[in-house]
Amino acid sequence: MHFRTFLMLFLFFSVSFAQNYPQSIGYVNDYADIIGEGYEVELNTLISAFEKNTTVEIAVLTVNSLDGLDIETYAVEIYKEWGIGQKNENNGVLILVALNDQKMRIEVGYGLEGVLTDIHTKDIIDNIIKPKFKEEKYGEGIYNAVLAIKQIIETGGYEPSLVAKQDDGLDIFDIIGGLFIVIFSLPFLLFLLPFVLPLVLFAILEIYVGNLFISATIAFLPFIFFMKFTNIGRSISKWQGGLFNTSGGWSDTSGSWSGGYSGGSWSSSGSSWGGFGGGMSGGGGASGSW
């Protein structure tokens, strides 16, 4: 029982604090600096044209190290983090290269698994990427791989099921969505509760008891207790800027999680890069080394 609880806590924290993955800065993310300027431009042109035609998103990531993770785990986590491919199509592909580990993986989104099979990706790795990588022609290897992926998807007759839906203004779903937002913003009203309630209570007690000290104690103590010793109270006080928070012991995992990623690098990249479409993958594709 205690072990299980411990395990759960451990899992929770290990999940939350696991990794600081690189952020996407475009289709090509050459963190290991092996692709070369020319091929980077070519790749960007190729991939963005391909996305315009098919909505398929191809992401390239090179890193120096996998930080001790196996490449399959790293790929699936990055894929999820970046959300490659359109949200409801999951039509993305990630080409991941880890230079020091000499490993690579092509991770295929759920929506492309039927057309771009594991065997296809393995063939691309073995026959197209590997020979070039052995000659340290990384940019060329990756470029040829993207060409091959494009060709397989095109000749495989892939079509997204909802080809780039037109934005046709306000419809009933927008209105329902708006209502949902209103309803779900109610929790924020609740954040005011710990302040408003003790004040009301204090006012009432002040009228009937007439003793400032006793009224204040009865009105505020339970709320200070609430804010300090319950999870929800601590979350509230953290959210409100730590007004009631005296000890630094509470680490809000969800807070630091989102904090780690909302570093503003989407906007600071200076280009028009707005991130990928929000697709998911489920471990499809193949890995290899060179």
């Binding site: 609880t5 759960m8 929770f12 065997i119 109610l186 609740l190 999870n231 489920g282 471990g283 499809g284």
Partner: protein
């Protein structure tokens, strides 16, 4: 006058409190229930990849073991494990059937080594088998981890305040983490070279 005014204030405060309490209860219920549904959803994905694996692997094994002595036996074992999976009534039986399946697959490799085919066609078939097998293993692993993440998140909420109170109020039970059957956590090692 003074008393009446105080009474009204108390009544209004109480009414406000009740309303907020009801809203809070609804939101708690909704958030626990949506986590609960997420666990179900993650589990259905685990089952999907298991199913795919049972459908896909035997077909590919067939091309590898074709015309070997053990062909009939291996295919029969795979079919049996698949049948047992399909008729399984609970998770434990499914996991057990899946372990049988893995065992049946692991008998493929000695045959490959033993027969040591010289022809290229076989080498191709074996490579495809290996790629598909690894791919399916990886899919199972991914969905299993996601399921466990969903369970962990759900369990965390229903075991900490205030979720624990509302979970017991609405009868939400702790969900079980998926643990692979003993001996099957690690897939058979396919890392030998055939040339």
């Amino acid at each position: 006058m003074q008393t009446k005014k105080g009474f009204v204030i108390i009544l209004a405060a109480l009414a406000g409190f009740v309303v907020l309490g009801i809203l809070f209860t609804i939101m708690q219920y909704n958030s626990i229930q949506s986590l609960n549904l997420e666990v179900d959803n993650a589990w259905s994905k685990v089952e999907t990849v298991y199913q795919e694996r049972f459908d896909l692997i035997p077909r590919i094994v067939q091309s590898v073991v074709a015309q070997t002595e053990a062909e009939t036996e291996i295919l029969k074992n795979l079919a049996d494990a698949r049948a047992r999976y399909l008729s399984a009534r609970n998770t434990d039986e499914k996991v057990a059937a899946s372990a049988d399946f893995d065992n049946a697959i692991s008998t493929v490799f000695p045959i490959v080594l033993q027969e040591n085919y010289p022809n290229i066609k076989f080498a191709e078939a074996f490579k495809d088998f290996r790629t598909t097998y690894e791919g399916q293993e990886n899919r199972v692993r991914v969905e299993r981890n996601r399921y466990n993440d969903a369970v962990t998140e759900y369990n965390k909420v229903i075991k900490t305040f205030p979720g624990n109170f509302f979970a017991s109020l609405f009868g939400f039970k702790e969900r079980k983490l998926f643990e692979a059957a003993a001996g099957t956590e690690k897939a058979p090692d396919l890392d030998f070279k055939i040339n």
